[in-house]
Each structure stands twice: as structure tokens, then as C-alpha cells.
Amino acid sequence: MSTLTDHTSQRASGSELTPADLRDLRRLAGLMIPAAAEYDVPGADDEAIFSDIVRSLGRDQNDVRKALTTLRELAGDDFAALVDAEAEATAMALLRREVPEITALGRAVLQCYYRDDRVVRSLGLEPRPPYPRGHVLKQGDWSLLDAVRTRPRMWRDVDGKGD
């Protein structure tokens, strides 16, 4: 992963995540996006990706902390103690909730996971910013416009000044 300028963490507010928060968040991230040998990709709990997630929480930090509080409530207070199947079921129960903190949690994980070099390469993309190389965009089939060119005027000549 190339070095990131730390733009997204500029607006972090509130206190840092506690060690317990970090432990639960890492386990949760690994359940949200697990590693997959089939695609040769790490999980979101991978050390580099998880560090990026924590460093980049920024404006979402309070919402993520709120989501972790709910996670622990769903887990009966100790998410870390759950066996894998229970932890997975608890995580999915949390993630099904349509509340802002879950949206923020998802965004916090996805925005770091899908910029990891290994993940980006596995998608057949180059791990680089858009600028300065840009992309190639083909013209497409302009002959399709012929069917529209022959249409009569559609706009209403309300002022009697049209062509």
C-alpha cells in the first residue's frame, strides 16, 4: 500500500478507540469481509488494512464506537468471548440494522479495503490514483443517435420565437 496523505482523519472527534474497541472492531471487520484464497485476497482484519481503517475513521469515529457498543449488547457484553459461529451470527445481526452508525461502519471498512493494493490487483485494476494517467474511454456506437436525429422538434415554442 502506498503512503496515504491523512486527509480522512483530519476531523476525528471524541476519544480514541479503546483496546477493547479495537479488538472487537478487528474481529468484526474480518467477519464483514473475510479473507478468500479463491480470489487471493486478505480479509478486512488484515494488519495493514485494519491499521488503515483505524487511522482513517475520522468523521466516522463516533458512529463506529456506537456500533461497537451495540455489537457488545447483542453479544451479551463480550463479543470477544463468542465462538466463531456465534460471533458471525451476532455480527450479521448488527449489520442488518438500518441505522446511520452501521452505514458509517460499512463505509469505514470498505473505503480502506478496496484501496489495498492486493485487493485492487485482484479486481484486475491498477493500484494507482486516477491522476495523472487517467483512463481510456471508447467513443461507443454513435450510429445509434440516427434514430433520434430525425425526430420532430420536442420543445414548446411558447414565445413564438423558435427556429
Binding site: 486527509h7 476531523r11 445509434l144 420536442m154
Partner: protein
């Protein structure tokens, strides 16, 4: 504190200028350009900064994340120190803007349709809202001048518009556009390549688009026509002064009910007085009424220029549902300008549809890997857990997206007010909006969603999904100080001058009478050029 009474407070006084423009965005830049050559001394105060191309997200690997951070379109989330908060809790649609040289054009998609002739005759044609006091043809030469200044890619011959010539070839159809075009032809519905203010060839010193695919959070290539790189370099060379990080608190007036200047905070936070012979507001449909309401005084107890009571009312936000669907073949994704074409098939009123007025269908390409994941999560197609990777690979770059740009009719209860509690970093009361979507618009939205779904299905898309409310989108802030001939039912006259304060002008989206079903920047700028020309032509009798 009432402005006029407050002038006794000692504060530094700047040298008087002939024209003071508040805001350097789409309309502020255009009105400044329209006034150069008059030999008037012109100053623009802008509360934000210049944005350097190297600062745009597309330069770095966190380019997608930054659209949710320091380049978020919501001022409340972005929360730069140059932003002001807006309380939009009482609105299903949230406010989008940008504060900096270029204003909203820094973060716009550059979709650049003009209003249609019928948009100016809504009352006459459809019996709702009000007619504009001007028509399309009044603005036509200013549309042309603005197209030349901004640089517009497009194709002449669209049967949905009066004849005009875009200045550059259209953006490519690409795979996504070809897919949409086939579907629309199958249905027999209109489409045309969008007019977009993106340079598809080198234009006026600007490099051509290289398909960064990340137009909205600023164009690092400089191909997108934000006014910091189109109008402002020319305006500055012509001698206009632009001061950044200067936030205006209120407009002051004298006993003759004339504006005398503004009280503002300079970059050090010092409160200063800037005298001016003419004040022009170009602060957008939220910022302008906020400033007028914050300029209340003993002679203007309900806010400046507000004898009609309409300052802040008739807020129009353009509800903009989006419908997506997934096809089997790979599309353009983020590898090109985000918008590609429009359809005006349902733009003009057809009473059989159950609503008046209409909408533009706007066809998009896609976004990068992060935003595709976030969006696909939102459409319910991307699961968490063990199925995540397989699903993602069937979705990425396979999403078609149709936006429904609905005309939003003016309603007085939709309004901008001052928040009794919330303030910006200088202690200036913030704006608070109260907005609901009308029944007519809701019917229009449902019609548009159904038609967009038909198009996607004709394109072979599966799993279509409609988002009725897209947060912080589109950021079109219109109607809150509308123009008109009658001072009882409008805030400014037919050439942008306040009915109440004869040296106060407004040129931003506030003065719109109705909203049309199009992105507004092209028409906002044409209006600003028209107001500038009106001022020039009346200089000898401007305050009569």
C-alpha cells in the same frame, strides 16, 4: 445587532469600492466578468480558499474516501473552517455546497443543460407557480457567452432544445452510453448526448479530459469548468480584486434605505467594514437569504429586502431519485465523465400522467471500487460475510444508473430561516431549512422511477433498485429571493435589483421563480451575465 445602528462601533474601514460581490462561485464569477470594462472598482469577498489542483482527491490513493471527508458535498460533514453549518434536520433532502473560490462548481458534476423556453412560462402553460418576468430568449445571448467562457461539450441538433452550438465535441458514449442508447431506441424514447462543461479538446488554456472519472470532488486535470479556472483568471487580469477567507456578517444600510457596504471578518478574524456603492449577492440559495435575514435592522425588521416577506421562502431543491440495475457485461464504471446523456421524453407537461411539469432523465456511468461497494451495499446487492467477494465481482462496473431530475415547484412553506441556536465559527446565526416534497413532485418522482426502470429493463438489467431520496443530492439551492415585477410577490425586479434597496442586487439561484427539471448552473450564470449587462446599460439611472 442591527447593521445601521451598529456602525458606531469602532472597526477598521476599508477603502470604498464601486461594486462589492459577495461570493465567488458560478454567479459571482459571471457577474464580475459581466462588469469588467466598466472602469468600476470591483471587489469580491469569498469566505473560502483557492483550491489548488494538487489538493484534489484524484491525486492520491485515498481519492474515493475523501469524497466523504474534506471533499464531502455536505458542509456539515465536510466541516472545513471555511464552511458554515446548515441545520437541515427538518428536510428529507440535505444541503450540498462548497465554500471556496469557484463555490459549488468545485464539486459539481458539470452537467450543463439550459432551462427550456417552457420553464419560464409555468403559470401560463400549466396554471401553477408563477411565470418568470423574462424568457428564454432574453437569456439566449448570455447562454452563448457563458458556454464560450466555460467551454461546453455537446452536440448541436437536439430536438428537445432551440438550436445552439456547444463549443466542443460531446463526451464519448462509451460502453455505458451505448447500452442506454440501445435501450432508449428500443423504447422509441428521446435521448441526446449531454451538454457537459468538461473540455473534450484543449480549450482556452485548459487541458482535455483524460477520464479521471472522479469529476464531482474536483478535477485534478483541470478539464472540468469550475469557475476558478474559467472566469476568475480573466476577471482578475481585468483588475477585479478577490479577497479570500473573508466572511460577510451583514449588509449595512443608511437612512435612505440604500446599502452602504458590509461588515465582514477578515482572515485574521478581525471585524471590518467594507463600504460599497453597489452590493451584489452571489452566495447561493441558502447563503443569500441567510445574509439578508442576518441584516435585519430597525428599518428592515424582517430582514433586508424583505418587504414581500419572501426572503427565504419558495426554496426549491430538485428531488432527484436514482434507479440502478445490473447488466452482465462490463460497463465504463469510473473510467470517464460521470454523466453521459439525457432524455427529455418526459420533460414537458402531459396531464394524463397525473402531475404537471416534468423531468429530465440523466444517465450515469459509475464510480470507483470503493464507491461501487458502498453503493451496492445500499442497493441491497452486496452482502457482508462469506458471499461478499463473489457478489462484488458480479456487480463491479456492471451497474447502470438513471437519475430523475424532477422540477420542484415553489411553495412558500419551504423556506430558509435563521437557526435560533446554531452559529458558524464567527458566531453568525446559521441557516435552518424547513422543506417537504410536494404531492405533485412525489407523483412525478414515481413516474420517473417507473420509466427509468423500464429503460434499465430494456437494457437487460436485473435487480433494479430505486433510491427515492439521495442524501446531499443534488445541491441545487433555488428560489429563496425570487425575481418578479410586483414588489409584493418578489424580492428582486426583472433585472436582479432589490425592490426595497436600490443598490442591492442578487444574481445566484435565489432569484429563480421556478426550478425547471435541469441542473441549474448554466442558467444561473446566464442570469448573472444578464444582470451585469442590465447594470451596465442603466449605469446613469441605476438607482432610480
Amino acid at each position: 445587532m442591527a447593521a445601521a445602528e451598529d456602525l458606531a462601533v469602532p472597526r477598521p474601514v476599508d477603502e470604498i469600492v464601486d461594486v462589492l460581490i459577495i461570493g465567488s462561485g458560478a454567479s459571482g464569477a459571471a457577474v464580475a466578468w459581466g462588469l469588467v470594462g466598466t472602469r468600476l472598482k470591483i471587489l469580491c469577498l469569498e469566505q473560502g480558499d483557492w483550491i489548488k489542483p494538487a489538493d484534489f482527491p484524484a491525486n492520491g490513493r485515498d481519492w474515493e474516501a475523501r469524497r466523504y471527508a474534506d471533499f464531502d458535498i455536505s458542509p456539515n460533514r465536510r466541516a472545513r473552517d471555511t464552511d458554515y453549518p446548515v441545520n437541515d434536520d427538518n428536510s428529507p433532502m440535505k444541503v450540498a455546497n462548497f465554500n471556496g473560490v469557484g463555490g459549488g462548481t468545485i464539486l459539481f458534476t458539470a452537467h450543463f443543460p439550459r432551462m427550456h423556453p417552457s420553464d419560464f412560462r409555468v403559470r401560463t402553460l400549466d396554471g401553477v407557480a408563477e411565470d418568470w418576468p423574462i424568457d428564454y430568449w432574453t437569456l439566449e445571448p448570455y447562454f452563448t457567452e457563458n458556454d464560450r467562457m466555460m467551454g461546453v461539450a455537446g452536440l448541436a441538433g437536439d430536438p428537445a432544445y432551440p438550436a445552439h452550438e456547444p463549443t466542443m465535441p460531446p463526451v464519448p458514449l462509451g460502453r455505458s452510453g451505448t447500452c442506454y442508447a440501445r435501450a432508449l431506441n428500443k423504447l422509441g424514447w428521446h435521448w441526446w448526448p449531454s451538454e457537459i462543461s468538461i473540455a473534450t479538446s484543449e480549450y482556452d488554456g485548459r487541458a482535455k479530459c483524460i477520464n479521471l472519472g472522479h469529476c464531482t470532488p474536483g478535477c485534478a486535470q483541470g478539464a472540468k469548468a469550475s469557475v476558478d479556472i474559467t472566469y476568475w483568471p480573466r476577471v482578475l487580469r481585468a483588475g477585479v480584486e478577490l479577497r479570500t477567507r473573508c466572511r460577510v456578517r451583514e449588509i449595512t444600510t443608511n437612512k435612505h434605505d440604500m446599502a452602504t457596504g458590509v461588515i465582514y471578518y477578515d482572515p485574521t478574524g478581525t471585524e471590518r467594514f467594507q463600504p460599497a456603492e453597489i452590493v451584489i449577492l452571489a452566495a447561493n440559495g441558502i447563503g443569500t437569504p441567510r445574509l439578508l435575514l442576518n441584516s435585519a435592522s430597525s428599518r428592515f425588521p424582517n430582514g433586508l429586502a424583505n418587504s414581500s416577506g419572501l426572503v427565504g421562502r419558495n426554496l426549491m431543491l430538485h428531488p432527484w431519485p436514482q434507479v440502478s440495475g445490473y447488466v452482465a457485461e462490463e460497463l465504463d464504471g469510473d473510467r470517464g465523465p460521470q454523466t453521459v446523456m439525457w432524455s427529455k421524453e418526459f420533460y414537458e407537461t402531459d396531464a394524463s400522467r397525473g402531475f404537471v411539469r416534468g423531468y429530465t432523465l440523466q444517465f450515469g456511468r459509475g464510480t470507483g471500487p470503493v464507491n461501487e461497494a458502498i453503493t451496492n451495499l445500499g442497493t441491497g446487492r452486496l452482502p457482508w460475510g462469506r458471499g461478499h467477494h463473489r457478489a462484488y465481482r458480479t456487480l463491479m462496473y456492471r451497474r447502470l444508473l438513471v437519475g430523475v431530475a424532477c422540477e420542484d415547484l415553489p411553495e412558500e412553506h419551504n423556506r430558509v430561516m435563521l437557526d435560533p441556536v446554531l452559529k458558524d465559527s464567527h458566531g453568525i446565526p446559521a441557516a435552518m431549512i424547513d422543506y417537504t416534497i410536494s404531492e405533485n413532485t412525489r407523483a412525478m418522482m414515481e413516474h420517473g422511477i417507473a420509466r427509468a426502470t423500464e429503460i434499465l429493463e430494456a437494457a437487460g438489467a436485473k435487480n433494479t433498485f430505486a433510491s427515492r431520496i439521495v442524501l446531499n443530492s443534488p445541491g441545487h439551492l433555488l428560489g429563496t429571493a425570487r425575481m418578479g415585477i410586483d414588489p409584493a410577490t418578489s424580492v428582486v425586479n426583472e433585472w436582479g435589483r432589490s425592490h426595497d434597496v436600490k443598490n442591492l442586487f442578487i444574481v445566484d439561484g435565489s432569484i429563480w421563480v421556478t426550478s425547471g427539471g435541469v441542473n441549474p448552473t448554466s442558467t444561473i450564470q446566464a442570469l448573472a451575465l444578464y444582470v451585469a449587462d442590465s447594470i451596465k446599460q442603466r449605469l446613469a439611472t441605476l438607482f432610480d
